[in-house]
Symmetry: C4
């Protein structure tokens, strides 16, 4: 649920670029409704990563999502790239994001976190702030414990090929691929076949700003249907997946 | 009907780049004729956004378009990106565009406006200059009232995935996707199916510089035919759509 | 037949980049043979635009091409972008290219010219040097007289969508699209259908560095066969097309 | 087996970008296993180009690869672009890469080399260090002797269209094409058809970081199967191909 944050976070010049900001607003104001309807129709829960700024500007998205079996997740405050921030800036992003959830009605008790880029500083803070798991790293396509920091962190990895934005996101400032939805349907169902054969999890990442367009909701509907035709998928939140993960490795326990 | 303006507006160095300028001239001098013929064959009206410079350099396009049920629309003077202009520069773009239409034979009484990027300054001028509606923002895929300024502005939104330029535009200076026309036919017909199911409008944006190529006119013909095979579309100008829009929200009336 | 020239012309740092230079050498040393074999098999003549540097470095290409009904054409000396050169630099590119042809065995009497970008200075020199026609501008997809200079110049226009390089060219320095050959076959045959319906010429531009790869020669074979299945194309050199062009407009005769 | 090296070698700022580094780690830690399993299932040997840093950080990849009929090959130490290094820096890359192999268990006697970009300095060192052959240049699609240096060097050329990275590699810092795997399957099988008709070698380059994703291993499986359905391919290491190459040209013997 990035909304306007990727652009606002990119620099102050974006504050007056109403067109690209309106592309971001499409997510909470229009795309989210379609996504929730589709998930409800298929009886599928989702994990919603929401920057604090989106929570502040669009508190109605919290209400809309709370009605289902969905999970809330932390996604910073302004979607700032952590690699461009010092430790204080990274801490502020984390804390401001938490505060926004606290301000919103009925905040979740515990939050996973997903970042564009993870740095050692933020990795250490995940343990400090008590996050149960993270979804920023991609060294595997199965849940794994990252042991590079002071304490092991459970990673639930995604991948760019399993995310809608690189395929469908487009702005005049950044360009984009504007891919054929049939290509993405093909890739995601092929990955599903691989995951099914290996009995592993598959994490798809989507943004209501992108997947919420009419022609892409139709694609997502075909992807879900195609998965069910090919096997018996269990659609789960990150919390449900994390609950099944193995214990952290003894050698890395803090 | 951008013609040469996107390149001339990008910087004075483009003034002597005859090849890329000739790509722009293809629109008014060659592509427009094909587009008008196709629309006439299908009995479809269009809304033509024309920068003032194109009106000045190619007054024959006004004559050619006037013969149908088409609508003229404002598109600045030199296609200058408003986010790079101060308030005076934005005002000049608007006024010079209006003046060019006035100089041309039989100017329209009232003009909608479409910009690459909209800023708060230009948004405010839309009300000041009496524009009836605008097509710059993308926070929804249905007509909506933008209430961020001093007075509500009726938006008739398009989207990059529903525009020919990101798919087919190409220059050696900017690159491009040079997409498979079957991909775009697929995307646009899928979006049409979504719009039909939701009984909403669908705005396709096209440039005679791009869509006017022979192989793309054939695609557009298939898109129109495909829409008619799938439903009973009503092809309308922006003026016709705006006339059906709801009244502005009371809370935002200036 | 650009060979190494686009990279060498881009800057002196390319002089030691042996890998990208070897990509260029692939054209004259390997790709050209395949192209000539394919054309011979289909009994099709071509117009070969050759920078002077390629003529100097690979004189064997002149011999190889001379055996057929092909036409030689001027393409500068080092493929330098004219928009980055002053008048003297543009003149040197033209003259050095001519000199290289004169040094080679059996030079053609008269040369058309094709440039990446055309500027007013080079346009004026075309008349001065007595070039019969040019293929740099794209304001139409039929032969036309450009009357912007002191004397009319006959243009035989190509287009980026009808060129192999934007689709298939790739270097680590510039990236590229690495398109599906079926996409390009589709585009080119669709454009052929359009040209056939309008009884107009269609100019395809190809580089042995790109089209000379094994998988692309197979595509070109299918394109030629596909054209013959759809109609009765006349494959001609630019000289043959120019001979059929109308006289220059009286108003612009120098 | 680039692993983390392309990013670490790009600049020190990548040292703390844990997400993109984890994309690199996916290769040795996850993708390699899938690749080795697939090759074993098809009884196909491979040549593994491994930067020294990957050998140092992931010595287990040496053990895993040694079990098959595979070949080890030199790929620098940190995947540094040679065109950005002076002669001393290029020498250090070569030597450090050799040392890493020596440190690892059971190092190969003799190493071919593959570089992103080859410069005259590194070309000369290939002879000095006694490399038997190289796979950096692309002036042909058959093995050939490069005679531009002091001694002829046997080249076993690849090409970007026959490499997985330009099609499937993606990072937020560099973008990428995220191609349809069916497109690449099509290109590679078309190239195979061309190679089969000409009875020549075809070199496919793949990175476990890219091809090791689940949906792409399935594509590679189809490519191998498709080759066997179309002909009787001999799958060989570079060492096996080099052993069949002709003697170096007399004129260029050092």
């Amino acid at each position: 649920m990035d909304g306007e944050t990727p652009w606002r976070g990119e620099g102050p010049e974006y504050g007056r670029r109403l067109t690209v900001l309106s592309q971001g607003r499409f997510g909470p104001e229009r795309g989210l409704g379609r996504v929730l309807d589709l998930l409800a129709g298929h009886q599928i829960p989702g994990t919603f990563y929401i920057p604090g700024y989106t929570v502040d500007q669009h508190p109605e998205v919290i209400t809309a999502i709370q009605g289902g079996e969905h999970e809330f997740a932390h996604h910073g405050y302004m979607h700032l790239g952590t690699e461009g921030l010092d430790e204080g800036g990274q801490r502020a992003e984390l804390e401001r994001g938490l505060t926004a959830f606290e301000r919103a009605r009925d905040p979740p008790d515990r939050l996973p976190v997903r970042r564009l880029e993870l740095t050692p500083e933020t990795l250490a803070m995940l343990t400090e702030f008590g996050f149960g798991y993270d979804s920023s790293l991609m060294a595997d396509d199965r849940p794994y414990w990252d042991v590079s920091g002071s304490a092991p962190v459970l990673e639930l990895p995604g991948h760019w090929s399993l995310c809608d934005w690189p395929f469908f996101g487009y702005t005049p400032y950044h360009g984009g691929l504007l891919a054929n939805p049939d290509t993405v349907e093909r890739i995601w169902l092929e990955e599903y076949e691989s995951a099914r054969a290996e009995r592993r999890v598959l994490t798809l990442t989507m943004h209501p700003e992108a997947i919420g367009r009419g022609y892409l909701i139709r694609m997502l509907d075909r992807v879900i249907t195609g998965m069910r035709e090919r096997g018996r998928p269990w659609f789960a939140t990150h919390a449900q997946i994390a609950a099944l993960a193995s214990q952290p490795p003894a050698s890395a326990r803090g």
